[in-house]
Structures are given as C-alpha cells and as structure tokens.
C-alpha cells in the first residue's frame, strides 16, 4: 500500500489521551456583546459554563490620578468620560461631594435643574441599555428605536450645556448655564411623545416569546448574595429589595417628588428588564413634577468665593478679572476633610469619595463605580448556564467599561 506523502506517519490525534473535558474560550475583549472592551475567560464543558473570569482594565487611563492634579473645577470634564452614558449624573455626583466638603447650600432652582438633567440622563442611559440588550438577543429593531429617541435627549443636552455626550453641565455651587428659553415647553412636548414610544418598546419585547425564553430564569442570584457582593441599582431591585437612594437617602430635592421604586422578585434577566422599563416611566413622572414646580430665581449661589465671575463682568471689571485669574490658576481652597455623597445613577450607587488637604486641589478622588461592583456578580450568574446566556447576562448588568476601568 502506498503511503501518501502528505500524511505524517507519526501523526497522533491531538485530543487523544487528554483528560481535560473543558474548553477555555476567550469572549472579548473585541466582541460586540461585551459593550466595550471586556474580556471574559470562560471554561466550557460543551456549551455549559463551568467558570467565568472577567478581565478588565483595557480602558484604564488614570482619571483619578489626573483629577488629583487639577483644581476642583477643572476635574469636572473627567467625570463625563467615566460612565459616558450617564455623564450628567456623574457631573452632579462629583459636585455634590465637593459642595459637601465646602458646606455650600445650592439654590432651589439649581437643585431642580440637577434633578431634571439627572432624570433625562437616566432615560437616555436606559435607552442605550434597551437598544443594545435587544440587539444582543437578536432583536435589532430595539436598537434603531432606542437610538432614534435618544437623539432628542442628546439634543436637549446640547441645547443646555453645549455638549451631547460629555456635557460637563454642573459647576460647584451651580450650573454652567441656566435653562434656555422655551426649554420647558420643548421638554414637555418630548415627554408626551416619549410615553407612547416606551409602549412601543415594551410591545417589542415584554410579551415576546423568544425574548422571554432567552431571559426568564436566567441569572438568578439571591438578594443576600447581591448585597454581599456590593451590587446596587436595578439589578438589586430586580431581586426584590426596594432600595433606591433617591427614596431611601434623598439628595437634592428628591423627597419633594412623588414616584415609585419599581421592583421585581425573580432576580433574573427578564426582571431586570422590567425594572428598567418601569424606571423610565417613573423618570418621566419626576421630570413632569420638576417642570411644574421649577422655582424662579438664581441658579448659582451668590458666594463669590466659589463661583466664577460671569464673562461679561470679566471684560470690564478689574476685580472680576483678578478673581477669574485666581479661580482659573489656583482654584478655591476646600476645607480639609473627607466626603462621600452617594447618588442613584442609572446603574446603581455612585459616589465620589474626596479627600481634601485644604488646598485648591484634591488629595484623593475616588469614584465608586456601580458597574465595577455589579460586574463582580457575573461569574456567580454565569456558572452552570449556557454560553448564549452569558450574552444576555452582560446585557442585563448594563455595564459601562469606561467607569469600570476609569
């Protein structure tokens, strides 16, 4: 018999003799369903996940280090770029911590405007989550719907702050600018249109048999385990715990508004979906009350120690010019101490822990990113599930790698 020259006579089957029954699979870092650059090392037995190890840090750029080298005002644009889907909420959280250290009481109008932009941002963030999660599970229409409607919100941010994704709208002691003329009317018109659109969103997925098959009973974790892991936000509320910092530890003027905290009990991907959809409706409810009760008056505090002088006065007044120069070079001194003011971001508890040594620059700025803690629960959720469920689980956690890696 003639032996083919292409066959190595010493060839042995590479899998023969191996005792491993598992396969290691790299999911990411470049993978559309990881919502950024997340790498998961999955150990698979067939299609079942035996273990899952997230590897993060691909977007690490040292925001916290950079913020230590800047005055308190100059650090604000960094906060936009952490969770780039909730930039407004990050702005507000940062200045709340600085204001706590300085003992600043903001004006009522400022507090209302902050609640307004926070809730608009929450809707925008949930829209991105809705669109991408739907697309991960094969429903590409959701993505188109959500991004179409998010455009209106980004236009609002552009109108108010000049930036769409990275507005940097908040300032210590106030806002960068007051509301624009006619904003209230346009915002109301938008909300009226938004409600039927959310009905459309729900019509696509809530009763969808395929979506339910993919999401129900996937990723159960008990409330105790979630708490022990530090998980907050909609993921925790979907496990049945009614915990929302806007309600339980109110900041700004949230205690003046009527809204419900949506919860669900099954703690699976489907419940997290339901909670977020209900939260969008509650945000609309809050924004309507904000617009109804928007107080007149100044948006910035009158204390010129912290406030930058307005541009018109800089051009004509010597004192104001000196003041502006001081603010821009050395900043304002912040009393020594520590402050951590948690707020409810679209992903969970967000807070800036700031340590001041009494100078114009912080000694330490620490962000408590909700996604960082939420992602820690992924190995627990993925264990024993199919590999396709991992995609649904990543979507249900609503992670943003920008804030995880910072």
């Amino acid at each position: 018999m003639r032996v083919s020259p292409f066959i190595n006579p010493e060839y042995t089957n590479p899998s023969a003799g191996l005792t491993d029954t598992t396969l290691t699979l790299n999911l990411g870092p470049q993978h559309p369903s990881t919502h950024g650059v997340l790498r998961l090392v999955l150990e698979l037995d067939g299609e079942t996940v035996v273990s899952c190890a997230p590897h993060i840090g691909y977007l690490h750029t040292g925001f916290e280090k950079n913020m230590e080298a800047k005055t308190y005002h100059k650090a604000i644009p960094y906060t936009d770029r952490m969770d780039y889907l909730s930039a407004m909420i990050y702005n507000v959280a940062y200045v709340l911590s600085v204001e706590k250290l300085c003992g600043i009481e903001i004006t009522r109008r400022c507090a209302y405007v902050r609640v307004l932009v926070t809730e608009l941002q929450r809707i925008a963030s949930h829209m991105v989550w809705y669109g991408t999660t739907g697309m991960d599970l094969g429903a590409s229409t959701t993505f188109l719907y959500a991004f179409r409607d998010r455009e209106d919100l980004l236009n609002f941010f552009e109108e108010l702050a000049g930036g769409r994704m990275t507005p940097s709208y908040s300032r210590v002691g106030g806002m960068a600018a007051d509301l624009t003329t006619g904003f209230e009317k346009r915002c109301r018109a938008f909300l009226d249109q938004l409600e039927p659109k959310i009905d459309d969103y729900e019509a696509l997925l809530t009763g969808n048999e395929i979506f339910k098959e993919r999401t129900q009973n996937v990723g159960y974790v008990s409330t105790e385990d979630l708490i022990a892991l530090g998980v907050t936000g909609p993921v925790l509320r979907a496990s049945g715990l009614k915990w929302d910092l806007r309600k339980n530890q109110p900041y700004l003027v949230y205690d003046e508004f009527e809204f419900d905290v949506p919860t669900a009990t099954a703690s699976d991907v489907y419940c997290r979906y339901l909670v977020r959809m209900a939260e969008m409706r509650q945000s609309i409810r809050i924004i309507r009350q904000v617009l109804d009760g928007m107080p007149e008056g100044d948006i910035n505090i009158s204390d010129t120690k912290f406030r930058r002088p307005s541009k018109d006065t800089i051009m004509v007044g010597m004192e104001e010019l000196i003041h502006h120069f001081k603010q821009m070079t050395s900043g304002f001194p912040v009393p020594p101490g520590e402050a951590y003011v948690p707020v409810e971001s679209s992903k969970g508890e967000l807070g800036f822990f700031i340590v001041s040594d009494g100078t114009g620059k912080p000694q330490r700025v620490r962000v408590r990113p909700p996604s960082f803690f939420n992602l820690q629960a992924l190995p627990l959720m993925a264990k024993g599930r199919m590999i396709a469920d991992v995609v649904a689980l990543i979507g249900s956690l609503d992670i943003v790698l920008g804030e995880i890696d910072r």
Partner: protein, 173 residues
C-alpha cells in the same frame, strides 16, 4: 426622636459593638461632614467588620466601597477606607485603617464581604498595599508585569517615562 439623635444612637451602639469585639479596637472617632468615621487598628479590621456586619441591631451587610488614600507627610502614610452601609438602619459608616509604608499590608475582608475582592485588588494595583488572605491578589487595571503603583502621591503624573511591556519587540514598524 429626631434624625440627629437617631444618628448618635446607632453610632454609640456601633462603638459598643466594636469595643465588645476587642477593647482596643477604637483608636479614634471622627464626625465627618457626611458620615461618622471610626479609625481601628490594622490587625483588628476583620474582627471589627465581622462584628459590624453580624450584630442584629446594626447589620452593616453591604461594603459599599473600599479604597485607599495616600498622605506623604503623615505616619502611617496610607489609609485604607471602608464605606459600610446598613439597610436596616439606613445608615452609613466609614471605617479607616492606617497602613505604614514600611509594612505595606492589611488583612483582607473578602471573608466578610466577597464584594471586597476586586476593590482590594485595585488598591493593591494602585497603592501597593498587600491584602493578606486575599484569594487572588493580582493586578486588575494595569497589565500583568507592570511594576509601579500609579496612585501613590510620589508617582509622577506623566508616568515613569517610556515603558516597554514586551522587551523582545524592538522594531514594530
């Protein structure tokens, strides 16, 4: 009972619980602008945290954040800062532990809260504080093999100059 009195009430209770765990366990109490803080000795942090978590009247069941801060002019140089949250009391407590530069280690609280795993890895990565008893103390945000601790105050803002992660690759283009 108004809000401030209630605050004092649970803080006294917390101090009592912590002192019951070990009489030496409270070095200092600080009334911060946002929440009260207690400073505890490094060796007792696990006992203190376990007591705060398990006491039926306190139930600080969530470690909402763990981080560190660095002050070059002070001894001990580092502070490891724990932010605890109690759902029952609706209260927050800050626990701080001093860590000197000469002996840069701190007991891990991953046995108390599994959620401390990643934050402790981050503190190791950024400040070089070793957490003894941690199940997997590896760098988390910077690449493996990186040899600096970037958030230390004496680390330059622009980094240590050109860093080559792959020494053998000399010519990329």
């Amino acid at each position: 009972m108004n809000e401030t009195e209630q605050k004092v009430h649970w803080l006294d209770k917390a101090l009592e619980v912590v002192r019951n765990a070990d009489p030496e366990s409270v070095v200092r109490v600080e009334r911060g602008v946002d929440m009260p803080a207690i400073v505890v000795p490094r060796e007792l942090i696990v006992e203190v945290c376990t007591a705060l978590r398990d006491d039926a009247g306190l139930r600080f069941t969530m470690l909402s954040d763990l981080t560190a801060s660095d002050d070059l002019d002070r001894d001990p140089r580092f502070d490891v800062v724990y932010h605890l949250l109690s759902f029952d009391l609706n209260a927050r407590l800050r626990v701080k532990v001093g860590v000197p530069e000469s002996d840069c280690r701190c007991p891990s609280v991953t046995s108390v809260w599994p959620g401390a795993n990643w934050p402790e890895r981050e503190v190791w990565d950024m400040f070089g504080i070793r957490f003894t008893g941690h199940p997997n103390l590896e760098r988390i945000l910077t690449p493996e093999g990186w040899e600096y601790f970037a958030l230390r105050r004496d680390f330059p803002l622009q980094g240590p100059g050109m860093v080559r992660l792959y020494e053998d690759v000399t010519d990329v283009l």
